[in-house]
């Protein structure tokens, strides 16, 4: 055991003198976004009504790996659970129900295909649809992407729910994709056309990076998925956006 202790003293010394300058403070103090980036750009009348009249809000989180919480150290850090906790805290007396239907790796066609089943088995007032990233890194034809998105929202709205689209994440794998901004713009276009909310994850995360936050702070080492901090922060900012739409003027 003596030898073991010696080894550990050496280890500790290495940490003290050898650790790089930045320590990834996972502190939420770094979690921020400009107010205009948090504007969803559309009211959420059905969700609002449900909160006001029934003191109840059912949310369906539909998406791929971000929604499923791939690679986070605790599933509770994934943005849907953060949203649920944030709303529960901010809206006392309102019963918030969140159904997480994120499936890692799915593209928009697979999600649109299960839209009816997911909605009918859960009947939400609000759907968060996180998509775009897999389409961009797999170079899905842009018009297919846009028409699938439009059809999916039309179907979902006809079943009686508000929509909030969450667009691409700003991470090395997406930044390296050729037309990522075209997918982002397509989502903005469809959201405007169909009166759906748009949570501008891409611009929010881009502003982190432009403000000097290194990728290691918010991205996993695979260069694609959000890490604990990224997920928690996106969840908290999404909570702010949705609260503003639910309780604002």
């Amino acid at each position: 055991m003596r030898v073991c202790l010696h080894g550990l003293v050496i280890l500790a010394a290495l940490v003290a003198f050898g650790s790089p300058v930045t320590v990834n403070a996972q502190s939420m103090a770094h979690c921020r976004a400009k107010a205009e980036l948090l504007d969803l750009g559309a009211p959420l009348p059905i969700a609002r009504k449900s909160v006001a009249e029934r003191k109840y809000l059912k949310i369906l989180a539909l998406g791929s790996s971000s929604t499923a919480g791939y690679g986070v150290s605790n599933p509770a850090f994934a943005y849907p659970t953060q949203l649920w906790r944030g709303l529960e805290k901010a809206l006392p007396g309102v019963d918030i129900d969140l159904v997480n239907r994120g499936m890692g790796g799915q593209d928009i066609e697979e999600m649109a295909a299960r839209m009816r089943v997911e909605m009918q088995s859960n009947l939400p007032s609000l759907v968060i649809w996180q998509t775009g990233t897999n389409a961009a890194i797999r170079h899905m034809p842009l018009d297919t992407f846009e028409s699938t998105l439009r059809a999916g929202i039309r179907l979902g709205k006809s079943l009686g729910a508000d929509f909030v689209l969450m667009n691409l994440q700003y991470v090395p794998a997406v930044v390296a994709a050729q037309d990522k901004e075209a997918y982002e713009q397509a989502m903005a276009r469809v959201a405007k056309e169909l009166d759906a909310g748009l949570f501008r994850r891409y611009d929010i995360m881009r502003s982190w990076y432009d403000d000097g936050m290194p990728y290691a702070q918010f991205v996993q080492l695979d260069g694609l998925h959000l890490n604990d901090f990224g997920q928690k922060c996106i969840g908290q900012l999404l909570t702010k956006s949705i609260l503003r739409a639910l309780t604002g003027p």
């Binding site: 030898v3 290495l14 502190s27 605790n74 290194p214 290691a216």
Partner: protein, 382 residues
């Protein structure tokens, strides 16, 4: 097979011990001590080391048994080991859940919900238990043992082939890996829509290349005629990976990386072990082989004792490390991620792992009842 008879290769235990320490340190989410592990300096991490050495030692442990006692005997020994791994995994699952439950009960409500999420029991705890028994449901960080169980369960069918045609096995294994990545194959997990975090059909390539290297043994010396070019290549590649890894920490460096390189690099998939990760590991392994030969006197230094002991008792130490990493996570978050708590938790955890390894070795040597001391069996390698 000469490798198996030419005495125990200390490097295997030593680096497996190191990998186990790394896995423990990396499994504490906010841990400044994880700067000591490989993962922040390139593409690969301790998982590759652990899986590669597991494949290597599987050949050493079972190939001679197969020659001596036949295939059936060796296979039943492998399945006995698979059973031990399974039992260990289930025990770890129970211990892990119990720890979460204990923390939840001791804490306030929001924390309780968070911890229950960590367990992932969700709406249907009974089904979750069933799925855990089927290895389809694994709470965070319990992904490595199921991978190892699947790889070892297939090993009786690989073993006769790999001792005869190691290069053929490498070819088939790489073929399966390529097909898996191309067709996006994986095994289903629980809840619905989830897949295995460590895809066995992709990660088998690390295990089987390790197994083939053990068979090739001295024949790998053939590579020494390219010693310098290979070494130079490995160094250049590791420096490149280091540069990329540092670019994740410093945006000015990130902006130096040309876009076409980023396009080639990302994403660096872990589930299907991206080729960048695997080649990064192979480059490290090559440099270790060049720098530290099996006979190197540095390997005999007493200071490596704790690492070797941990490497020898790999199953126990792996399970203990996973359990302690959860305790560490809870402790560190209790102290609001303070750096001191991270360092103290890391050192305490490694001390406990060392202590357990020494106690286990003491039991294996005969324990309290034997004064003569029974020499340890070499078959206890895997």
């Amino acid at each position: 097979m000469a490798n198996a008879s030419s005495g125990r290769d200390i490097r295997l235990d030593l680096f497996r011990g190191l990998a186990l320490w790394f896995i423990f340190l990396d499994h504490i989410p906010t841990n400044v001590m994880s700067w000591l592990t490989v993962r922040n300096y390139g593409f690969s991490d301790a998982t590759e080391i652990f899986v590669f050495i597991s494949g290597y030692t599987a050949v050493i442990a079972y190939s001679r048994m197969m020659q001596r006692d036949g295939w059936i005997r060796a296979s039943s020994r492998i399945y006995r080991r698979v059973w031990q791994l399974y039992v260990a995994h289930i025990l770890l699952f129970v211990a892990f859940s119990a720890q979460v439950a204990w923390v939840s009960i001791a804490r306030d409500t929001p924390a309780l919900i968070e911890e229950m999420e960590l367990l992932g029991f969700g709406d249907n705890p009974y089904q979750a238990i069933l799925e855990a028994a089927l290895l389809r449901f694994r709470p965070v960080n319990l992904d490595v043992l199921p991978l190892y169980i699947v790889l070892l369960a297939a090993f009786p069918f690989v073993l006769p082939a790999v001792v005869r045609w190691p290069l053929g096995v490498i070819a088939v294994s790489v073929g399966l890996y390529a097909a898996t990545c191309h067709f996006n194959w994986n095994l289903a997990a629980y809840p619905d829509g989830k897949v295995w975090f460590f895809n066995p059909m992709a990660w088998q390539v690390v295990f089987h290349v390790g197994a083939a290297c053990a068979v090739l043994g001295p024949r790998l010396a053939w590579l020494d005629r390219f010693r310098w070019p290979l070494t130079a290549l490995a160094v250049v590649y590791l420096l490149f990976a280091l540069f990329i890894a540092l670019s994740w920490q410093y945006n000015p460096l990130q902006r130096q990386v040309p876009m076409w390189i980023n396009k080639l690099l990302y994403p660096i998939d872990k589930t299907n072990i991206d080729i960048l990760r695997f080649t990064h590991f192979l480059a490290i392994a090559w440099l270790v082989r060049v720098a530290i030969p099996q006979s190197a006197s540095i390997l005999k230094w007493a200071i490596w004792g704790p690492l070797r002991r941990c490497g020898e008792q790999s199953l126990l130490i792996f399970c203990l490390g996973t359990f302690l990493a959860l305790s560490g996570q809870v402790t560190v978050s209790h102290f609001e991620d303070s750096i001191v708590s991270q360092v103290v938790v890391s050192i305490t955890g490694i001390l406990i792992m060392c202590l357990a390894a020494y106690i286990a070795a003491w039991f294996k040597d005969g324990g309290p009842s034997s004064s003569a001391g029974i020499p340890r069996a070499a078959g206890a390698l895997t």
